[in-house]
Symmetry: D2
Subunit: 425 residues, 4 copies
């Protein structure tokens, strides 16, 4: 069976120990750059050279960026590297040029989630001592593994007789649906013939490969900030304009937006807050939320209804509200012929004991921006699922990956890339 090399396991655990949410991937990017240096690639693009910076979404404020840059600095990243990532322009694109042949791109995402990791002694990262070092972030979606697979594939192709150009895109800010468009519009995809994006897990066990993940929901993130007026809760409750009441009314009605007859929709008020002290009528409140749809149209239905709900809730409680769309991604589908190719080539990979042509994602991914870009310019794209046993669900405190799946992923993608290059000869 395909083994995962020790140095990739070490890399993955180091990234896991340093989880960094969207646009804060300073340590992560620096660590990847070290690996690229070790492997020796032909080109590395970083910061403004890798991204259409204006197309970024969900970028935090300067204070927040400063705090994470500081952490990366304390973790040993040199200032010169940090300067290249100025203003949270994280991520990197590595290019291998190996003579004539097609341009193949692999996209992996690298950001973590703003949540706390479990401290349960049975949780593998706790037992093996690579739990997140920060309590406000966690690799709860396997992007530490994605980044590691990206490095592994580069290494494997560098050592092969591949002819063509390979681009590995280490994309930031997937979780806030913030980085996909910035990569798509960077120009780096405009000569790509074949794009593969990958994801570990998604309910598929170690040893299973999904050649074409479909049903990627379109998504829109939003932030609503309610402003009312404070007052003494005992003496003059009538003089307040209660922003928490407005927020609570909005939350109740957001989840109650009618389901749609034409397909799946989603809504979540994932982070909310408001008010100051128990004896003050709350003057401010906020919702960080998202809506999704099976198609871009269904997502827009949800977004429009959500905005109406929020605005009416504010009005009801005599508050003002500002709604910002903080990130957005369309839906996209794999190309059947590319899917078929991957289905075929993975049959011979040791460790792969189950292959699926297709499976539903049931979630969203801003890889769709990249897929659409390549497809619109005549290329082909797919979204490949690499199974991994995961004890807790994605985004939960006990999520973890089976490290064996890293080696399997590298082997499967190596085989696919070589076959694509051969095919086009």
């Amino acid at each position: 069976m395909t083994e995962t090399p020790e140095h990739l396991i070490s890399l993955r655990r180091d990234l896991h120990r340093h989880p960094e949410p969207a646009w804060r991937e300073f340590y992560t990017t620096a660590r990847i750059l070290e690996e690229l240096d070790r492997i020796g690639v032909d080109d590395v693009f970083v910061g403004p050279d890798a991204l259409a910076s204006d197309a970024r979404a969900g970028v935090p404020d300067a204070d927040e960026l400063g705090r994470w840059r500081e952490r990366a600095s304390e973790a040993g990243v040199d200032e010169q590297t940090l300067d290249r990532l100025e203003g949270g322009q994280t991520g990197a694109i590595a290019v291998l040029r190996r003579g004539e042949g097609p341009t193949v791109a692999l996209r992996v995402d690298i950001d973590a989630l703003p949540r706390t990791e479990s401290t349960d002694p049975d949780h593998h990262p706790v037992a093996e001592e690579f739990r997140a070092e920060y309590d406000d972030a966690m690799h709860a979606c396997g992007h530490d593994g994605h980044a590691t697979i990206g490095v592994g594939v580069l290494e494997a192709i560098a050592d092969s007789d591949f002819e063509g150009t390979l681009k590995v895109i280490f994309q930031p800010a997937e979780e806030v649906i913030g980085g996909g468009r910035a990569i798509a519009e960077s120009g780096h995809l405009d000569d790509v013939d074949t794009l593969m994006a990958i994801h570990l897990g998604l309910g598929h066990p170690t040893g299973e490969v999904v050649a074409g993940v479909e049903g990627i929901l379109a998504v829109s993130n939003l932030r609503a900030e309610f402003e009312g007026e404070s007052a003494h809760a005992g003496g003059h409750p009538d003089r307040g304009r209660n922003a928490v009441q407005a927020m609570a009314t909005a939350v109740q009605n957001l989840y109650a937006i009618p389901r749609h007859g034409e397909g799946m929709t989603r809504v979540n008020a994932g982070n909310v807050g408001g008010g100051s002290a128990s004896n003050v009528i709350p003057e401010s409140a906020y919702i960080d939320g998202e809506v999704r749809g099976e198609t871009t149209r269904l997502m827009e239905y949800m977004r429009d209804r959500a905005e109406t709900v929020i605005e009416s809730a504010a009005e009801m409680h005599d508050c003002e509200v500002a709604i910002e769309r903080t990130g957005q991604a369309p839906s996209a589908d794999p190309d059947p012929s590319l899917r078929e190719l991957i289905y075929e080539v993975t049959s011979g990979i040791s460790g792969v004991d189950s292959r699926l042509r297709r499976a539903e994602l049931g979630g969203s991914e801003d890889a769709t921006y990249l897929m659409r870009r390549v497809q619109q310019r005549g290329g082909e794209a797919t979204f490949v699922g690499i199974g991994t046993d995961h004890p807790g669900g994605h985004h939960t405190a006990t999520f973890d990956i089976d490290e064996a799946s890293i080696g399997i992923g590298v082997a499967a993608l190596r085989e696919a890339i070589l076959t694509i290059a051969d095919r086009d000869e």
Copy 2:
């Protein structure tokens, strides 16, 4: 007209610059101790000597206490003083013994609110450059003035021919209804013949004195912590148990608890929050709230209904909830004869141009614990209102006091204390 001495204005502004919420009054207490030292009192009780520590409510956790202790240290308070306030045992009781005579107590409260002060250039503390140095706290209820009046009265009586014992109680944690019971049960009130508690403002202009504030609402603070389960909001929203939905349902229904036929009630969800990232079903949420009633019985009606609402909301969304009663105070009424005495003696005070025998508070105050203690043991008590022009309402970002009212308050209370001592000869 009675002038407010410069050194009292300086003291007030220094306290205003260093607002400290409940049980975090490290700087404030240290600053008061300096003044007591300057004045030279007979006894000073601090920390466990001033409080029945077990009867404290709303004490924050060690991290939070540590953070504020650190701030006080940075503001120049020596470690020895901070050690005396170990674990947030803030506040102080000062005693002047001047021969035979009654024991008279004055209670002033010293804590700030956890809210941000206005940065409007027209806001007096901004214009005069004594705005709060921290953005997470503010003296938005005049307790900086109360503490200053307490110091001023001590000074004035120390210089007078008063015969008897004067205790000035600098009480912590009034805003969370957390300190009153701890003072009441400390033993220091058990020999008090006459107690006066004071409050600035309350809608009364500078120059007005209220001899007996009544209608003090009974209050109960509560904290509810909801625990659900997180899940990926795109892939498996059904697997979550949504703590934010539970919280929002509770908020909606808390405000909707039926009004009571027998009198005033209040309810507020003053500070709420929940969840982590927009794409994670929220697994936790909280409410910091309060209920009030015109009588203790009406407060209990509200509290019982509130707890039912919160528990049912949790159950509805398959979450657990823990409810803690974080502070509580009964209602209490002034003694008419003491009220009359104060009404009479304030007639001759320069600067007092309006006197009221009674007025409604419409809010709550844990001074009621102290008043009840003294009354139950045969003493008399009242709650005195010292008018002050205040541009913004109590608890709002633009609240401020008219510093002229500090001098008026000192003069009125000095006169009252001397009259009480004479009367009982």
Copy 3:
């Protein structure tokens, strides 16, 4: 002790058996007219002669009026009488002229509530077989007793040596706050020197009389009709515009309108409904509700907030809404001298064993329109409470009056009217 004559008990029970809500008091008015005929009064005004018809509020539609007219007809009322009450112009004013003297008016209300009476065998009207004959209405507020007292007082004064003019006003539609203004503006009050309105019960036991009921809350009734769009709930829920969701959101937020620092407020969504079948997205819904305030200003605060809540809830769910103010009454207070007179004269009435100068109503009454009219034109007015033991609360299914209180009420009011006439000689 004062006994209640048999014929008044019979009358009260007959009215109880025929409860008629606002503007539907066909049988009731006819039955009163019979009594007036028996007694022999000088003038009787009915229909448009008794009311400023344009000032009526809460008049039901023609179908509903027709249905109740039909019931009255089936119960034996002749068509000629019914024609005089055309369009629901119910109620009557009876006048006794007895030479020179003041004009004294007594106002009693005659309508029932749209609710079902208890069938409990222990409920007195069930046990004694005079329970309501209709299941959609009930005398759950004692107006059957009020009307009976009005008849009893007329009879008593007709037999006395009273000198002056007595007007007994049998007012319709009090429960919907719909008739008071129409009587006030009819002209019949413009020469009244003294007005007494009465109410049985209000928590006061048989034998207790309240000379001046105060704290009558100002009230505004409103009806909101939501219009959305229906759709198949399985196939196309997104195509609906859900009026029931709008209504439910409004209800939740109506009860949550902030309490007011300056006094009592009330709100109730007393009757609601919406939708058609379980598999159709509801296209319409309604709320019949009310708001109240300790003063007219506080009622207006509640009304304005309620209208904002309702409009925003409609908008939130993409529905239209029409809000109608269906009835309204101001607050009003008794004249102290008249209150004192009644307090005095009732001391000698057999059966009266407790007298109160004042008591709080805690509810609303459109008698305030009549009181204000008389007071504005220089007359005096009060609202008299006649105690009666009542097993269930007002407006509940088991409400009933103690018939002994009818006799006591008649005797007390006779004495008061005779004293007023004597006083002014």
Copy 4:
């Protein structure tokens, strides 16, 4: 092109004029019996002979049944026929026996919806003067057309050389998911080899036929009755236990039940109400609602969550609640071979210009009970869609069918039945 015969158009319009909701189809059944009589079938089963009466769901109370029986009587149905339908045992099964051959069943449903039909002069039934004669019911889902097709097919097969047995099932109470199980368990399906259930419209235009409608959502109807306690809304709102608040809280949270990651779900509070008068705290309220799921398991997820929401909402407002499951149907899928047969035979039908092998229903249908019964006993079943242009959506006030589709449906089903009989020879 296939024409719809005049007598079928007349029949359809007569049924349209007399819409009768679930278990109230007295006129409808009688009218169908007349047609069966005219055609001359071999057996007719009615009332308890057609239904497993105990398995009925959603049967209204005796008063309601009596009211509709009375209407049917007034519309000319004789008492003898009405007696056969005693207690709302409506519907009929007609059997043609034509020698050796397979037993083929056709199921059509006959009930209307409890909603008001449009009065728009452009609405075809208004223009052509066959709008519903009652304002509380409407054929808004085309079952008038279904019943007519059932009659037309019987007639067509009776006139053909069909060999075998044909059963046409005129099923009551489909809209409340109340009749399917009672037919399935009647025994009449136990010898059926092939079952076809049909539906007009569903978004398919006239001329389109769907051989196998799939994605039929499992459904569960429920009725919740809340009981609280009334009180005077002005005097003692605290003494009430507000059933309307409980209902509104439930409605808000029912629509907010989390969407499910594995497939479509639905929820609707289709008919709600509560309370009595605006000044009485509401003591009772109800919800008639439904939940659906793409699979029976998803429907059960929704049902369990819905029941938790309702129970917690009652508890929150100190009310009792009784929840009744008033009807339920599983999901079911067409047999592919039968679907193929129908797809093939309809190619030659004049008027059919578009054929689909499959399409999603997106709604529910208790025909699934019948399909499952036949399939479990070794038979085959499908659900056939007959396109019809319909101006308004299903269940809306302006729904109508294109009468041309009746003739097309009859022709298509005739052809299918003859082919099935031939095939099995």
